[in-house]
Amino acid sequence: MTSLRRGPRLSERRPTAVAGGRPRVRFAANAALAVIGLCFVLPLGWLLLASVDPHAGYQTRWPQSPSLANFAAVLTPDLLFQPLVNSFLLSAGTAVVNLAAAVLAAYPLSRYQSRFNKPFLYAILFGTSLPVTAIMVPVYGLFVQLQLLDSMPATIFFMATTTLPMAIWMTKNFMDSVPLELEEAAWMDGASGLATLRRIVVPLMRQGLGVVFIFVFIQAWGNFFVPFILLLSTAKQPAAVSVFSFFGQHGAIAYGELAAFSILYSVPVLILYTVVARGSGSAFALSGAMKG
């Protein structure tokens, strides 16, 4: 489904991979991994089977009359398209705000020595550890006071802020690896700092910025709690929240449609993750996040 092609390449590069080890060890490791992998796939089995079963329940079974009826049933503007458009606006908006703020902030942190840098970076690192769920109660209170409830832009700015510390951290690390020489040449020619940032640094760190963008986008796309609390009207709710429309008012749950909808809603992030993982390896993304 996702990064099938990434594995072998990575292991070739890996210095420790004791080329497979001894046959018996290797067989045992393969068997143990297969069992673990099966355990991880099992809970997803229901999702896949129920989505093609018009009479699905919470039981996992081969559909008696497999069909795409569930998918056909959810392919309506109200059920699928509007929520997905909302999800997209929310996630893309969050990622754009996030990236713009992060690139601007990372530039002086990466390029100029200042007494302000270290404390700020540590504060940012500290900020990554605040539990976002805990802030939701006060954020709701704040949004009520400022009359920002049910406002898409306000929700976007809030979501961008929750991932901003991580984004600044990653962006600064990626920017550190862009060599200074080219910029110095531009400075000599009289270009201002921001002009060099836009014309030289940003193009050179496209790949890293792509990773940050997708990273933030995936998190925003999958986020349920924040829009659940902050967006009230159905017309603005993203797919993560609108999915509850399959839990009928009379207690009847449309399991098959729920599964079909869940799959359609998950596909974009699976694709995006594959793009990041294949392009550069998620180890690359992690290194941006974790190194100093």
Binding site: N30, L47, Q59, S114, F158
Partner: protein, 298 residues
């Protein structure tokens, strides 16, 4: 850095250069610092979702915190949170992630990438979808009981009989990928000749692991433990969908309790008090994390 200027112009310029950081600082102050500050303030009031106290909250001092200690639900909830984080993050995700990463160094490349995909899939899925899948898996006539039925075992109604165990397992399923990725990256940095030298000296597999590999990656272990603890501390959706904290608070961790008090019962004051406790715990962990980081990257 370009040419130094005269002292005062230079310092002005230095401040001017920091200007691009301002948008980020504004966002962080408005949407992160302000809610945290408001949370601490509101936790000393009787703020409510509706009614008189919604318009005009009164200062009630430490009442909410006293209530926390005398109330029977909060200590239970704090304990459940400790068990949930300990069992699903520190034991479950961390150990399983390390085991998978270690096995991958011994296994074939195709198996490693297939299993890696399966583990990561549970992690990349939107949280609400993962929560539904976990709910279906553990429900009365769900996959788990069907599997047990194949072996002639009549399974329990897990979400009612063992709600805490169910959400712990679900969170291990959901979150192990992160630890696995961290440890795969860490293990790939372990120099090959070190463990080969130990092999020459006749060190057994577990000895190499305990005395060579683990000490080399201890920085990653510490960082990973901090991060997954914080992530697990904040888990809400998984629990809310699977058990909603029930039955009778048997799986109400602190984020779920804060939500219930604030939004279900309308007691914003008490809800923010619980949230403040969570934020404080996060701050303690954050401080440890920053110190740890400074020691590794001086």
């Amino acid at each position: 850095m370009p040419v130094p200027d005269s002292p005062d112009r230079g310092s002005l310029r230095r401040w001017f250069r920091l200007l691009p950081v301002v948008p980020s600082i504004l966002l962080l102050v408005l949407f992160m610092l302000a809610p945290v500050a408001w949370s601490f303030y509101a936790s000393f009031t009787d703020a409510a979702l509706s009614g008189r106290a919604a318009l005009n909250p009164q200062w009630i001092g430490l009442d909410n915190y006293v209530r926390m200690l005398t109330d029977s639900v909060f200590p239970l909830s704090a304990w459940l949170t400790v068990v949930f984080v300990g069992a699903s993050a520190i034991l479950g995700q961390n150990a399983l992630g390390l085991v998978i990463a270690l096995l991958m160094t011994k296994s074939g490349g195709a198996t490693a990438s297939l299993v890696g995909t399966a583990v990561v899939a549970a992690w990349v899925l939107p949280e609400i979808v993962a929560a539904f899948a976990a709910y279906a898996y553990f429900s009365q006539d769900g996959t788990l009981n069907q599997l047990l039925g194949m072996f002639g075992v009549h399974g329990a109604n897990w979400l009612y009989a063992f709600p805490l165990a169910a959400i712990i397992l679900a969170n291990v399923w959901r979150g192990t990928a992160f630890s696995m990725l961290v440890y795969r990256a860490a293990l790939s940095q372990v120099p090959r000749d070190v463990s080969e030298a130990a092999l020459m000296d006749g060190a057994r597999g577990w000895q190499r692991l305990a005395f060579i590999t683990l000490p080399i990656i201890r920085g990653s272990i510490a960082t990973n433990l901090m991060l997954i603890t914080l992530q697990t501390l904040a888990v809400f959706t998984l629990i809310w969908v699977m058990t909603a904290g029930g039955p009778s608070n048997a799986s109400t961790t602190l984020p779920v309790l804060a939500y219930q008090e604030a939004f279900k019962l309308g007691d914003i004051g008490y809800g923010t008090a619980i949230a403040s406790v969570l934020i404080l715990i996060g701050m303690v962990f954050g401080t440890v994390y920053v110190r740890l980081f400074r020691r590794v990257n001086p």
